[in-house]
């Protein structure tokens, strides 16, 4: 086993922060170039006219999942040293539902709102500020939320453990589901284009957003 490098002591906390910055830059570059800094493009996911969010997200998940599986199997990466987020069934389901409401209304998520904000989208700035206030308020209210936050703990729990299916089988099934999902996404987008006289947001979605000078109706 030669990885993960940080966990195995190849470099210290200062090196970890350099890695954080470099990895973050690559992450932000990917998000922006996929169009994930555009709230209209993201919101179109929920009206089934542009499924970029689904395509980007699930091709990323499948890529990483396959990489982890094969690097683990080849003995390059010690998966027991990779941090897996712990499962708390109820708060994570409810948190997801609450998060989804904000996602549909705001058209951006925490990471993409940062990209939207730095590329000049004022709605991204507003969302970042709202997100920050929401986390602050929830944090201040945490003493009364704590009982719910810690309900239904299951520790590190993965899909193969729950369904008693080998790791490789779950990976294969998810790849098949994702490929079927991509086919479905292409079909839905094609149908949306043919049914609507107004074309869906083109890949360079520009025309429907207004420059700020003419846009702010104060």
């Amino acid at each position: 086993m030669t990885a993960p490098y940080f966990e195995l002591g190849y470099f210290g906390t200062r090196g970890a922060l350099v890695a954080a910055l470099v990895i973050g830059i690559a992450f932000g570059w990917c998000l922006e170039s996929a169009g994930m800094g555009s709230a209209r493009k993201l919101a179109a996911q929920f009206y089934l006219t542009d499924l970029t969010v689904f395509k980007v997200m699930f091709s990323a998940i499948v890529t990483t999942m396959l990489g982890l599986f094969w690097l683990g199997r080849l003995g390059v990466l010690d998966l027991s040293r990779v941090y897996v987020p712990e499962t708390f069934l109820l708060p994570q389901l409810v948190g997801g539902l609450v998060f989804g409401i904000g996602f549909a209304l705001g058209g951006l998520c925490p990471g993409t709102s940062c990209v939207a904000a730095v590329t000049g989208r004022l709605d991204g700035v507003a969302l970042v500020l709202g997100m920050w206030s929401g986390v602050l308020a929830t944090g201040l209210a945490f003493p009364s939320l704590r009982a719910f936050y810690e309900r239904t703990p299951r520790g590190t729990l993965t899909l193969p453990q729950v369904f008693h299916v080998p790791y490789g089988v779950v990976v294969l099934l998810l790849v098949i589901v994702a490929l079927a999902g991509f086919r479905g996404a292409e079909w839905i987008e094609a149908r949306a284009t043919s049914r609507s006289d107004e074309p869906p947001l083109p890949n360079a979605s520009r025309e429907a957003t207004r420059p700020v000078a003419g846009g702010i109706g104060v």
Binding site: F46, M65, G95, V98, I101, C109, P110, V118, S133, V162
Partner: protein
């Protein structure tokens, strides 16, 4: 300011594979994945701790960010600064930097900004409860096949699709 042609966005599948390789690199180099809401959590902890140090220490949510090198050198906070830098330069070279309010054709800019602020606050609550967001749970935990992360993905998409018809005025 008239924009010369902004370059079109990348192919979503290629961008997704690239994003997946970045996430995989994080696992190989650091033994951990990506995140975004964690940066909001550590920075709020930093501000609360500066304003009311005892209150921050007494609060179990903020206190966890106050150990080690402190909230301002939190790994995810530095990572999200990187996200901002990477996003900015990607838009710069592609000619996509533009000051604007992105909104649907039927909503005023002021209403869009108010909604965005409120939506952000709602997502803040959701991300705290879920212990992460689309980055830390959906991408990172999803790729690790974590059950809680897949519950988060299911909940987030279900709620977004349920709310979208009610929010049609904001986008279409």
């Amino acid at each position: 300011m008239r924009r010369s042609a902004a370059r079109p966005y990348a192919n979503p599948y290629l961008a997704g594979v690239a994003l997946g390789l970045v996430l995989l690199t994080a696992f190989v180099v650091m033994g951990r994945g990506l995140g975004a809401s964690g940066a909001f959590a550590s920075s709020t902890a930093g501000v609360v701790s500066a304003v009311a140090p005892e209150r921050a220490q007494a609060n179990a949510y903020f206190a966890r960010y106050l150990g080690g090198d402190g909230p301002w050198l939190d790994w995810l906070l530095i990572e999200i600064i990187g996200v901002a830098i990477g996003g900015f330069f990607s838009a710069l070279v592609a000619g996509r930097l533009r000051v604007a309010v992105e909104r649907g054709p039927r909503i005023s800019s002021r209403a869009r900004l108010t909604t965005a602020f409120g939506a952000g606050a709602v997502m803040g609550l959701g991300a705290v409860l879920a212990r992460g967001c689309t980055s830390g749970q959906a991408l990172t935990g999803g790729a690790l096949l974590s059950v809680g992360s897949w519950l988060f993905i299911a909940g987030a998409f279900a709620a977004a699709y349920a709310v979208a018809p009610l929010a049609r005025r904001a986008w279409t």
